[in-house]
Amino acid sequence: MAASTTVASNTPRPALPARSVWRRILSGDSLAYSVTFAAAAMILLVTGILVWELYSNSQASRAKFGWNFLFTSTWDPVADQFGALPFIYGTVVTSALALCIGIPLGVGAAIFLAELAPPRISDALTFLIELLAAVPSVIYGLLGIFVLVPILRQVEPAIRAVLGWTPLFQGPFYGVSLFAAGVVLAVMIIPFIISISREVILAVPSDQREAALALGATRWESTWDVVVPYARNGIMGSIFLALARSLGETMAVTMVIGNDPKIKASLFAPGYSIAAVVANEFTEATGDMYISALIELGLVLFALTIVINGLARLLVARRNMA
């Protein structure tokens, strides 16, 4: 490319007919460059506008509460007192729980589908998983209320019997809870983890497997010690995407989380998440401070997503170096 430009600038350029100039532009690298650049710039632009709007519209609330907004837990629209802590807590806890359940199941299933399952079963299951990923979240929420919560109420004594000694599983259980929200989120993110991780594992060159097998590794050893580490970055990517989805999930969470802005150590207690409170209260919010506080919650969620994703990436980067 560099060579061709030098040639072009040294030799006097013959006058080209209009049609061939046009063709040159159409087939040229410069056009592709500008079009793809514009597409990429859109991402930056949209993100920029988003942050700016959230920032400027939350001015009143930021001025009144300052950093205290993040560390207080009163949410009182009548008295115009707003603190985000219970919502941050609920968001982080439900997402963490979803990942705890989702990662082993999702990555496990992906390994099975990509490496161990007969191709026919693998294809059929993959099709089903992609269907699951497309189910609207309100459906998951309804399933949560009408199916999952009653089941949880049945199995609760068993969970309590095994894990009741930890502070995480104490206090009364009403069904709707942080626990229920975490389980629903796990069900929602598992298809993402499976679908992407499977693709990534399938993309590992077969030389890698063959080399491992040639060295006398068993099938499982080649999968676990060679293929999975090779695909690790892609698997991590699928987990980040799942995490982002669970942090921002609104509808399904609000239907099963109990919507009670209190911080309790027990996963059996009801809680609240950032996305859920914004969706619940924004339409009927009237006061300026109230709306401003809700918009600031949006800003907090945005920042939270960046921080958590950043930390996770840092962790991966350090492990890759080690």
Partner: protein, 340 residues
């Protein structure tokens, strides 16, 4: 084509001064009266095909905001605008805003008490105590006194409230604020409040769903929702000391027996006097700007309101909304003259 035009013509003359071109009137606001409004706007459009109302049920808060910003021709709300919002409107739009009650709604206490088949009675003290978290057991003396002969269990009461901001919550908390000083200072009235106790359910269906699933729970839902979904609900003691069951008639009675109606119709009729009045009732309002610069739209909106106060009211009962009492209708007809 010509024949169809000749059908429309008499209506056009009736509407008077309406041009043959289409008029689109935008409105936004409360979700609770949406089925009623959409029926009205639809029927009115059939009568006057050139006139179309576009109503977005985005919530009362949104309705107030949008009419204040001037992005819609009129708004709708389940709670009256407060003085600050009225001043805000005047500052931005250079004219006042009028409240026109359209229909009425009510909240009812619903509960799930296994083994109890009788309809429960709730005193104001019991409701306030339960929602404040002070009455925690079903066999509390306050509940037992009002329900003699009912075998109330010694179980914890699990409270369910709305998690989304809503007019239903406004009515409920407005009532609790009137009957309990403690509620007024601790939580107050609003479309969302800082609930002392309880789980949040999204929408009427969320609350009733949780009440159905959780034994020994109680919550509150819109009367219409309870009627249409055949959910059992309790009677509430009104300020005359009578336990009244919510019904379209007892809700209308609350408005009729309510104290002197103010000229701007911004009145809460919860805890209304009168022995037939159901105490947790409320109006829902259209928010009409005093000054409408577009003459065609002004005429159309005024004509619609006139029709709504007469023929429109007759459709309310079929959709389970309580109609307005005669005195209120007459007063509203007079208020129409204030739209300039």
């Amino acid at each position: 084509m010509i024949r169809r035009a000749s059908h429309i013509l008499p209506f056009l003359l009736l509407a008077g001064g309406l041009h043959a071109q289409n008029v689109l009137i935008n409105a936004a606001g409360a979700t609770f009266p949406y089925p009623m409004y959409s029926k009205w706007f639809d029927d009115y459009h059939k009568k006057f095909p050139t006139l179309q109302f576009n109503y977005q049920s985005i919530g009362s808060g949104g309705g107030i905001r949008q009419v204040t910003e001037g992005t819609v021709d009129f708004g709708a709300s389940d709670g009256p605008m407060d003085d600050k919002q009225m001043a805000d409107f005047r500052a931005k739009r250079g004219g006042g805003i009028l409240h026109f009650p359209t229909v009425m709604g009510a909240d009812v206490p619903v509960y799930n008490l296994p083994g109890v088949t009788q309809q429960l009675n709730f005193t104001p003290e019991a409701l306030a105590g339960i929602f404040l978290g002070k009455i925690t057991k079903w066999n509390d003396p306050e509940l037992a006194r009002a329900n003699s002969g009912v075998n109330l269990p010694a179980k914890d009461i699990i409270v369910v409230h709305r998690s989304d901001g809503s007019g239903t919550t406004y009515i409920w908390t407005d009532y609790l604020s009137k009957v309990s000083k403690e509620w007024e200072t601790k939580a107050g009235r609003g479309t969302s409040v800082n609930w002392p106790v309880g789980l949040g359910g999204k929408g009427n269906e969320g609350v009733s769903g949780q009440v159905k699933q959780i034994p020994n729970s109680m919550g509150y839902v819109e009367l219409i929702y309870a009627v249409q979904n055949k959910i059992a609900y309790g009677k509430v003691k009104n300020s005359a000391g009578v336990f009244v069951e919510a019904s379209l008639a007892s809700v209308t009675a609350a408005a009729a027996s309510s104290k002197e109606m103010p000229d701007d119709f911004r009145v809460s009729i919860t805890n209304a006097p009168g022995k037939d009045a159901y105490p947790i009732s409320s109006f829902t309002w259209l928010l009409i700007p005093e000054k409408i610069s577009d003459a065609t739209k002004k005429k159309a909106i005024k004509d619609f309101l006139t029709w709504m106060l007469a023929d429109g009211q007759k459709m309310a009962a079929a959709l389970s909304y309580a109609e307005l009492p005669k005195a209120v209708l007459a007063k509203e007809q007079k208020a129409l003259a204030r739209i300039q």
